[in-house]
Structure formats: C-alpha cells, structure tokens
Amino acid sequence: MNNENTIKANQSAKPYVAETPWLDPEAVPFIQIKGLSKQFDDFSAVDNVDLNIYKGELFTILGGSGCGKSTLLRMLAGFETPNAGQIIIDGIDMANIPAYDRPINMMFQSYAVFPHMTVEQNISYGLKKDKLAKAEIATRVKDMLELVQLSELAKRKPNQLSGGQRQRVALARALIKQPKVLLLDEPLAALDKKLREQTQFELINLQYELGITFVVVTHDQEEAMTLSTRVAVMDAGKFIQIDTPTQVYESPHNRFVANFFGTINFFNATVLSTDPEAQTLTAQLEKTGTQLEAKAEGRFSASDEVTIAVRPEKISVSQERPEGDHLTITKGTVEDLAYYGNRSVYRVRSQSGRIIQVSAQNNQRSEQLVLEWDDEVYLSWDSSCNVVLSE
C-alpha cells in the first residue's frame, strides 16, 4: 500500500469506472469458486455454485435472508467448511488454509469491534498477530487512523463511539492487513439513512484508492446497485443472475430478478413472429390483443408463451394520444395516485382490467395535480423498453 496516496483520500465522489475483465475470455479470475456446496443437516444452503471474481472488483452478492449468501461469505473467510467444491484465490486453493492464514479479511455485520480494547488496539491487533516490528505497526496504525479519520479517537473504547465510528474501526482493522480480498457482510445495514449514503461513497472511494477486491453481501438492492461493479442475485443457494447493476436492472433474466429490483409491470403474451436478424420479436398481449415489438435474442420462437416486463418509469402518461414510431400504446383510467414531490406514481387500470404502475417525473412546476383520479389517460412506452422473459 502506498501510504502517500492513501492518506489523501479522494474526496470527490469519482465514479469507479471499472474495466470489464469478465467479458475478456483471457482474463484470469482472482477468486474462482467451483462447484461449491454447503449442507446443514438436510438443508442445502449453497448448492453447487460457480463464480469468478476479478481483481479490483467491488462484487456484490444480493439475496433475501436465508438465500445462502452469508454461508458463501463464511466459506470464503474460512469459518465454514464446504461439503464440496473449491475456492481458489490468486491461484491458491483455500481448502486446507484455516481462517487465520487466509489473505482475506472481513468486516462483520455487527462490526465485532473488541469491546475491551481501544480503537488503536483494535486496529493494531492483526498486525501484532503477524509479529511485525513495533515501529512499523505504529506508523501503519497512524496512517490508517488518518485514512479513516479516527486519529482523535485513538484512545477511546468502542462504547464511547457512535455506530458510524465503530464501522470505520471495523473497516480499518480489516484493511490494515492489506488483504487480497475484503469481505463485507451487510456493511451499511446498521447505519441510519444519511450516514449510509455518505458511507457508501466513502467505501467506493476507499476501494478505488486501495485497489483491494471487495466482496459485499447484502439484502438491500439499492446498496448493491450503487456500490458494485457486478451483482450476483442469489436465491435458494443458487445464483439467478450475475451481471452489472444496469444489466440486472434493465435486462433481468426472469421474474424473480425483475421483481427483486424495484417495481415492474408484467404482461403475459404470445410470440407472433421473430426477426432473427434485427433480434426483435412481435408479441400479442394475452387479454387486450395489443401487439408490441421487443428486443430479444434468438432464444424465442413463434407461439412461445412469454412475459413482457416494463419498468414504471419507462412509461409516459398523457391525456392526448401520443404519436411516434415503435411505441406501445394502451388506454386506461387513473385509479390511484401518489404525489412524492419530485415524481408521482399512478396506478392505471387498463382496458383489460389490469393495473399498470407508472412513475412520472414532475418536470413542470404546478401547484395542481397534472392528473386526477378517474382521468382517462394514454400510456405509452418505447418498444425498446419491453423486456421479454421466458419465465
């Protein structure tokens, strides 16, 4: 670690422009997980998963409680022994390496700051266990305290710290060992909303500065979206989709992933025809018979039953029939509306009787509501916003 650089933490929230090693077939993954499984009694917590994480990534594993994400993290850290499979980090198989010898450190959800030690003692613990020279420990602890802005609190005990400060102690304690991989278990869950947003950017900056590979486990989709280079969505011990945050949001592979990230409207439809060259298809909605176009890879063919998914913010709402090419248009009545200031959410009952949720920016200044209950409206969206799901 270059101390000169790390002390001057980058204060501007510079976006982490990741390269995309996962698209490069030549790239060697930094963490390779192969066929990893873990059973507790009859329950399969992690079920034969494969995963490649590349150096310098901020990789997030996202899922609800009990999906196996924590077990996976604990296997990486060495607290659980897999029933099958392999974990390879930087070319070394971790199978016979105990937790205390792994080049990995972890920030625990509870932070696990040692209550009987001062901030300084907490941070220096790992270096003392490595039997480093006293002078080196002292300088590194000093630098780390400055990096996480805890210099003034060095002699305090954890019970004299706020939640955010304890989180920084936990982070500093893990980072000072200069691990190859830092594991973070729900890093922001214990902080209040304001502090979360601030800490989120600090974490990204820190990761950018230090270039350490971060693996984050969380159940909070917003946290996953803002932090990560890539997100792995996990359910019932398996990965459902591994992609960048934008891909996961805009091109979910199935209903589960689509639902996990924000709200989305689903329509049942039948494929009428496909155009393999343009990679588009035409489908007919089940109830209204409305025909629409959508982008889709070649995996669909005519008369397939599919689900068309559209995000609420992609839909425009207007009282006059909109004109334009490639538009999907449907008519409905405003049944419910919620005014949030910056945007409004409408629940519109379409002619087929189903509810379509629309989220509209309030980009005009008006003290009256633009639309009222029971207004007749047209809903329209560009056909490129149609996501075709097979399940």
Binding site: A112, F114, G126
Partner: protein, 267 residues
C-alpha cells in the same frame, strides 16, 4: 398518587425490617457487656477478645478460608472449561442434556449431594485405598463438585450473550485459536469468572451439610464448629463471630456487584 407512594414506602420499610432487624439485633448483641444474650449490659468488645483467644474457632476459621479459596479456584477453572464446552463447540448431539446435567447440582438437596459424596469416598477408599482419611481434602473436593456448577452457569450465560463474531473477527485477523482464547475470550469472561469465584468462595464458607458428610475426625470447618457450639447453648462470642462474617460477606458482595456494574457499563 401521594397515598400510593406512602403505601409503597411503608411496604418497602416493612420488607427491609423483616429482612434486616434480626441481623441488626445480632450485631448489637455482639457488643453486649452482659453474658446473658437477651439482656443489654452496656457496650463492650469483650466477646471479640474472647473470640480471638478461642483457638478452636480461629483454627476452624482458617481451615474454612483455606478450603473456600482452594475449592473456589478449582471450581472456577473447571466451571469455566465446562461453560466454554457448552457454548463454544458448535452444535453437537446431546448438548441440551449436558446443559441440563451441569445445572442439576444447583437444585439437588445438599443432604443428597453430601451423602452421595460420602458414599463415593468410602467406596473409593475400599477400591483403591484413596482417600486414606476424610478431612480437609475430601471437603475441598466436595465443595469443588457443587460450586463448579454455579461457575459454569455464570460463565455460560456470559458466553452465550457474547457476540460470537468477536472470536471469528480475531481469528480472521490472524489469531490462532489459543491466541483468540487469551486475547478475546478470557478478557471478556474474566468478570464473570471473578463473580463465579466469589460465589463459589461464599458457598464453601457457608456450607455445613456437605462438609459434615465428607469431613473426618480431624477437620472441622467454621460452620461445623458454630453448629456444635450452638447445640450447647448460644454464647455471645458466636454473635461476635457472626458479625465478622456478615462484614466479610458484605464486602465480598460489594466487590462482586462493583465488578458486575463495571462490566455492564462497558457493554
């Protein structure tokens, strides 16, 4: 409002009076000049002088303290080990049974504990020739047996309320299992070990029944001496002795609660 608080206050006074008047009377009479226990003859320290000249009592007191200190120390070591085994070694078959078994001596009638220990000592003597005679040694062993259960329960409750990830964090930072035990686990359970030791010490000092069963001809603990003297009638020097014991126990309790208070403040 006023009325109910007056009622609460008098209830409190009655409660405390019920608890403490007998003890206060005893302390007062330990300073009584008169030899007749129930008649106040003026202030005097003569019974304290008599007490310190009574070699039998002094000897018994010293023996009791020795037994209490030794048994409390061993009980703390064994009890801590039991507590660790019951909370730290993951989930294993029959853990619930072991947890129940460790707590059983807490509710076992002393007479039964004493009798069973006596039977064990007698049959051991016949089988392997040890212990040669019953006395301070056998009393100590008996006291370790029942007081380690108390220590185990105290340590176990502390350990199970402790954040398990503290030990994992220490291991994650490079601590070997033994280092983690000395760096993290022991410092965190030290206060409960101390209160366990104090409890074991007090229990041992206080015990009459088990000591009577497991003692031999030579060794008489303080409670045994007091009990045998009382059978011949209460002499005022026993009041003086009791006052000293109350003083010692109060100081012990104050230390123990101070330790507990500091611990709870820290967490």
């Amino acid at each position: 409002m006023q009325k109910s608080s007056r009622f609460v206050f008098s209830a409190l006074c009655f409660g405390f009076a019920f608890l403490y008047i007998p003890i206060l009377v005893l302390i007062a009479f330990s300073f009584n000049q008169s030899a007749i226990t129930s008649v106040w003859g003026g202030f005097s320290l003569r019974w304290y002088t008599a007490l310190f000249n009574n070699e039998q009592i002094i000897e018994a007191a010293l023996l009791s303290l020795k037994i209490a200190a030794t048994s409390a120390t061993f009980a703390t070591i064994l009890g801590t080990m039991a507590g660790l085994a019951l909370t730290q070694i993951g989930r294993y078959r029959g853990r619930l049974i072991f947890t129940g078994l460790i707590a059983a001596p807490l509710v076992m009638p002393e007479v039964i504990t004493g009798l069973s220990l006596l039977l064990m000592f007698v049959s051991l003597q016949e089988l392997i020739g040890w212990p040669l005679s019953r006395g301070a040694g056998t009393i100590t062993i008996a006291h370790i047996t029942f007081s380690m259960a108390y220590v185990a329960v105290i340590v176990q409750s502390r350990l199970s309320s402790m954040d398990q990830s503290l030990q994992e964090a220490a291991m994650d930072l490079g601590g070997r299992p033994t280092q983690v035990a000395f760096d993290i686990t022991l410092p965190l359970i030290a206060p409960s070990m101390l209160s366990g030791w104090l409890l074991a010490f007090t229990l041992s000092l206080d015990d009459l029944v088990i000591a009577s069963f497991t003692s031999g001809a030579g060794a008489s603990t303080l409670p045994m001496v007091i009990f045998s003297k009382i059978k011949l009638g209460v002499t005022p020097d026993i009041n003086a002795l009791a006052t000293l014991i109350i003083g010692t126990v109060s100081i012990g309790i104050m230390i123990a609660s101070w330790v507990m208070f500091r611990q709870s403040k820290r967490n």
